[in-house]
Symmetry: C2
Subunit: 219 residues, 2 copies
């Protein structure tokens, strides 16, 4: 009995994922996927628009697994501890799945198609769940939660990227956990100090300087 | 009159840089460089050990330019303002030279050779100059300056990387400047709050939890 389209799609995504895990995204071709599941190249192109479409389907499984890695195990009740754990779980997921993580963030699609809604919804769910924990850790300071999550996530992402690549000898896989933890703890302390300035908080914002005031780098 | 090795080397690096700027690192081949400067492929291999060696020479010029972009123009005397400016200058340099910046951080060398000393010295100079400003901004808190610079730089790097790629729709080139500024200001406020805890600093470190305590992501 011929495989259904759903079965073929599932098999193709699994094979594609295996190729990325084993050899990296550059090794992934429609031909190799077709050969591995015993169908024609044309059949793959009946199921997926192109290689980018297949890669987005693999990326969706990575996002699902990242969500599990972040949230499946219970987090501490204490919000700052929960956010610190989330940063370490994100880093650990990247270290455990370096090629899948690299595919997710560094692969540039050839097509100009926007990401499909089911993919964007996975991203939105991840962001919303992290924001919920960040809102608690920021102690209900309100309006800045989204920007703070953006900063924290992009920063942990940067530490992770440098750790995986070992670039410039500054961040290693060994030191990344401690750096990410220092980032989260210090940033949260700073956010609280800004909201509720003590002797430390008051000196942090020089008078007359706002975000982006130095954006003209070549002055 | 035949070009000297020094002239050929300088020309080859300039052509290679132009190929990276125009088309990205993947477009850079020894053959194209040889054709552009009118010599044989063998001549290029007399001057450079391999393509990686040529790329490291291009990378050295990028590090020199990055140092200029960060430090050539006067920085504010006030140390926090200086560090905020440095973050914006780093981001602006990456936005102005996305393919050179990507080459520097995302190119993986095929050879196992360590980076040459003259390359490592450029990196060390950049790090030392940033650390000098960070030490002042951290108000002489001493032992943590190196780790704080590592965190801040890796974090700004992460914001920059996501801005250049426009990944996940979270960081854009427009928002990156504000996010990087928030990161620096909030992190410095947090570092000061930890050193000199007021009502805000005291709540930042939950008892019994140290860096890396949550590194086992799969618990």
């Amino acid at each position: 009995m011929a495989k259904s389209h759903d079965d073929l799609r599932r098999d193709a995504v699994a094979v594609a994922r295996g190729l990325v895990v084993g050899e990296g995204t550059a090794a992934l071709t429609v031909r190799r996927v077709a050969e591995a599941i015993g169908c024609s190249v044309g059949t793959i192109y009946n199921i997926f628009a192109d290689l980018d479409d297949l890669i987005v389907h693999v990326a969706a499984t990575v996002l699902d697994e990242m969500h599990d890695a972040l949230f499946a195990a219970p987090l501490p009740d204490e919000p700052v501890a929960a956010l610190r754990d989330l940063a370490q779980r994100y880093l650990a997921f990247a270290v455990a799945h370096p090629r899948l993580w690299t595919m997710l963030f560094e692969y540039t699609t050839a097509s100009e198609r926007p990401m499909p809604d089911w993919h964007l919804e996975r991203i939105a769910r991840l962001v919303a769940d992290v924001q919920a924990h960040a809102a608690a850790a920021l102690d209900g300071s309100g309006a800045d939660v989204k920007a703070s999550v953006d900063v924290l996530w992009a920063s942990v992402h940067g530490i992770t990227a440098l750790a995986l690549r070992g670039k410039l000898g500054i961040v290693t896989a060994e030191s990344a956990g401690a750096l990410a933890d220092r980032l989260v703890v210090t940033f949260l302390a700073g956010a609280r100090a800004e909201r509720d300035p003590g002797p430390a908080g008051r000196v942090a914002r020089p008078a007359g300087r706002g975000p982006g005031s130095a954006a003209g780098a070549g002055r």
